[in-house]
Subunit: 524 residues, 2 copies
């Protein structure tokens, strides 16, 4: 049977709303790849006739205007150059230092998170205390809010405006999605993000995982200290971001179980992983000619994401050396220093039509840092990967692909041309990688509704019904002790102990009486 | 905004398969209302071009042939009359005895379950040890199995044939669905079936709920003792039904969160509640005339399910008396004794077109026993209910509707015309019942894919991909102690205690040294 026989017609192609059905949606995205993930949903909602208002900072990396929407910007106390400089410095540090142990990687991640958090907090203050803007949003009378809670300004604004919120997210730090949604994450088989564990953990890994889960509320408190303070000031009551997040109507989770390990979800969590992998377009003529140039050997696509297009010269040389020794051609998004004797089978570009290239039948391998967008594009198009994680959730993403036998992973800190060559030859020549990837790809693409349509549907659902109260579990009304039934366990334990004591005492009493009467008899 | 704007075109209307895409599906249903729930899926799969083979006992209550399928029957050692007699006796006992306390209700339920279990075990032996039939099924080389695990013969046959299984179920006894699927059911807010609790529980209720959850594995062992023995004999190895069930590829859960309390689900659990509520047909002319006869007062629909169409005379009289005093007309599925002075606003029928009647704009109330089919039909059509639970999960179903403010519940054991009248007037005249029901109905009907299409999609998915291995959590490979991290907690506790001991000893040592040196100094 052919796969995907039952795929539905995308909603996107089907309907537009009449004015009476259209609503007003406030959108507060997060910059960078997060915005790339959210943009198609926002544009589709606008296309369907809703009044979609996107609020973004004046200065951003990827965030900007979008089709079919109104964009409102607010001033921020930093320039684009300053922001980019911060990120470049962080990336530079990662690429030039030997961050090898897992602990170093986590520490490294915390540093980047702090940097992002700095930007988030500055945005937060600039937006929330911009009276004119806030008044404007209040007057708009929105039906709902769509936000990426990675930056909590949308979270707080939704609470202030008392409108139901849809959160679109991927791998929030400190596991705040599980905490706020009350979604069980059994530490025995649900590896925490940034542990780089798989679903099958050793005793030691399970121990670390449990400690990590236990410490997460503390990590969240640290992460959101400044946001909590700002939220309290803005809402004029004691407030915390995590508490506000617990009132989210819908969580649009950018994950798919062809990639993510199976684990419990709450009914208000909707999986929309793989939205970015859209229908490919044909390649430009020069690209088409280049990729066809190596005949049956095919070609390799290589990018390290939107943030990293340069490499330290020595490291870059290792890549060039490896590429020189393969029969495939290579398309590499690279703007760094090029050695004089760069091999001719390598084409360097400032920007790659990544999805279109991966969809080409001659794409043999994909060298990637393991960001979710690229990962789903590779998965969708069935291209085996060589993965070189840099920071954030990339290390975890890589584990998930490696354990499924569709990728090899390398460490950027000690990469050599030999290692790269070995990994590339393995994923290209060992047919099992391609076969497993094709099976995984078929599973990933075989779904009753396209992720974009699901995201649109549930956002509109929240607009239509003023929330999704019926999906909210009663767990939110319990405290920690009650949720874990610790009071009940204590009570039952007490009952058991009392019962045993009474039984023992009774036995003792009976035994003594028996002894006494038998003693009496003896004496008599 | 109008509700349901985004409802998709049903798959059913869209596609049929080409012969190369069609597969072979074995279906093993359970009798009674269970079969009514499964039949549309089976027929749709047949219509789409698959070879669907339904295996049923020669003798059944509701189970029988279906469109677009092959039906195979096997002989059983009982007659239809014997089977019906058993059930009639049970129902008679319920209706004629005062089963009032919750404990009595549970006991009553266990008795009915034992009766059903007797039938199941007899079917099981008749089918599994029918060599000719088993050989025939083996030769068929099915791609997958669709079964209702309420009767475990499909479960065991799927294991024997080594084909992936799709389970379609509603409220399995002893919570075997949660146990076998490793789905977390926090006892603090997920009320166990047959407790008749809601999601908000008192301390006492939480205690009972926890004890119930703890005892469930034992209850399952009791329920499946004979099936386990037969399975071991048939498979020629030590086998248990619960263990086999843990390998289910997909669980099609006949629930919807407009009705069920929000709680965690596993990714291989697909909710398909409300499948029975199909598009209504216009009423026959005489019925249409009858229901229009009371003008704006409208009419009441009254059935106690497919198994109960009679009532003890005294009880029936209470109903007739109540109906005499309302301005509505009443349509009642009733075949019992009719008093001479039966009120004229009551029409008694052997069978009611329940869904078509509930969809009529003049339907004002629905008197029902709270079976899932009727319940979803009432919910879909937005008709407030007076609910009179009889047995099984009906008591729990009723609680779910009452707590949402869309129904009143009555006890069949002490029902009087006054009580019935009070409840009927309440749900008809107090507008809040209708308003809440309309909101709940809108939420229930507003979904991205119709439940029937979802059931068809996931069954075909399992046929296409030979299972759904990617949705299977690693929890299945852990034992109870590991799953609950008890070994890790013990280890961490030991580390903590050791750490504290070492710290104390060190302090003690230092303190002593200090004391000794100061004593020495003093002495000196």
């Amino acid at each position: 049977m052919a796969a995907g026989v039952l795929l539905l017609l995308g909603l996107s192609g089907l309907l537009c709303l009449s004015p009476s059905q259209a609503g007003k949606l406030l959108v507060m995205p997060t910059d960078g790849s997060h915005w790339i993930g959210m943009k198609p949903v926002v544009e589709e909602l606008g296309r369907r006739g809703h009044e979609v208002v996107v609020v973004i900072p004046e200065v951003g990396m990827a965030v900007g205007s979008s089709k079919n929407t109104k964009t409102i910007t607010y001033p921020v106390p930093y320039t684009k150059a300053e922001m980019e400089e911060g990120f470049t410095a962080s990336v530079h540090e990662i690429l030039n230092h030997n961050v090898v142990t897992d602990l170093e990687k986590v520490w490294n991640f915390i540093n980047i998170l702090d940097l992002l958090n700095d930007v988030a907090v500055r945005n937060l203050e600039s937006m929330l205390f911009n009276k004119e803007l806030v008044q404007k949003l209040e007057d708009w009378k929105f039906d709902a809010l769509l936000t990426d809670p990675f930056e909590p300004m949308g979270v707080i604004m939704g609470e202030y405006l008392s409108i139901p919120s849809v959160y679109m997210q991927v791998n929030l730090p400190c596991g705040v999605d599980s905490i706020a949604s009350q979604c069980p994450s059994p530490p025995s088989y649900v590896p925490q993000r940034y542990t780089f564990y798989t679903e099958v953990m050793s005793f030691w890994e399970r121990s670390v995982n449990l400690v990590r889960i236990t410490l997460q509320p503390l990590a969240c408190r640290r992460l959101y200290t400044r946001a909590d303070e700002i939220a309290s000031r803005f809402l004029q009551r004691e407030a915390s971001v995590v508490e506000i997040m617990s009132r989210a109507a819908i969580w649009l989770m950018r994950l798919d179980f062809a990639f993510e390990f199976s684990r419990p979800l709450m009914p208000n969590m909707i999986t929309i992983g793989g939205m970015s992998a859209v229908k490919p377009k044909p390649l430009a003529q020069d690209l088409e000619e280049f990729v066809n140039g190596s005949g049956d050997h095919g070609f390799v696509v290589f990018t390290l994401g939107s943030m990293v297009s340069e490499l330290p010269e020595a490291k870059a040389r290792e890549f060039f050396e490896a590429f020189r020794q393969i029969p495939q051609r290579v398309l590499w998004r690279y703007t760094g220093v090029v050695p004089k004797d760069a091999p001719k089978n390598v084409k360097l570009m400032k920007w790659l039509p990544q999805n279109d290239l991966l969809a080409h039948p001659k794409a043999k391998a994909f060298i990637t840092h393991g960001g979710t967008h690229g990962l789903y594009e590779g998965l969708c198009n069935g291209v085996p990967m060589v993965m070189i994680p840099l920071f954030g959730d990339q290390g975890d993403n890589v584990q998930r692909m490696v354990v499924r036998g569709v990728a090899e992973s390398l460490n950027i800190f000690d990469i050599t041309s030999e290692k790269l060559l070995g990994a590339l030859r393995k994923v290209i020549n060992d047919k099992s990688y391609k076969e497993k990837m094709m099976k995984l790809s078929a599973i990933h693409k075989d779904r009753p509704v396209e992720p974009l349509d699901l995201a649109v549907f549930w956002t509109e659902f929240v607009m239509r019904h003023k929330g999704a109260q019926h999906l909210r579990p009663a767990a939110h009304d319990l405290n920690w002790v009650q949720y874990h039934s610790l009071d009940v366990i204590g009570f039952l334990f007490l009952v058991l102990v009392t019962f045993i004591c009474v039984m023992l005492k009774t036995c003792q009493f009976c035994f003594r009486r028996c002894c006494r009467s038998s003693n009496k008899k003896k004496k008599e």
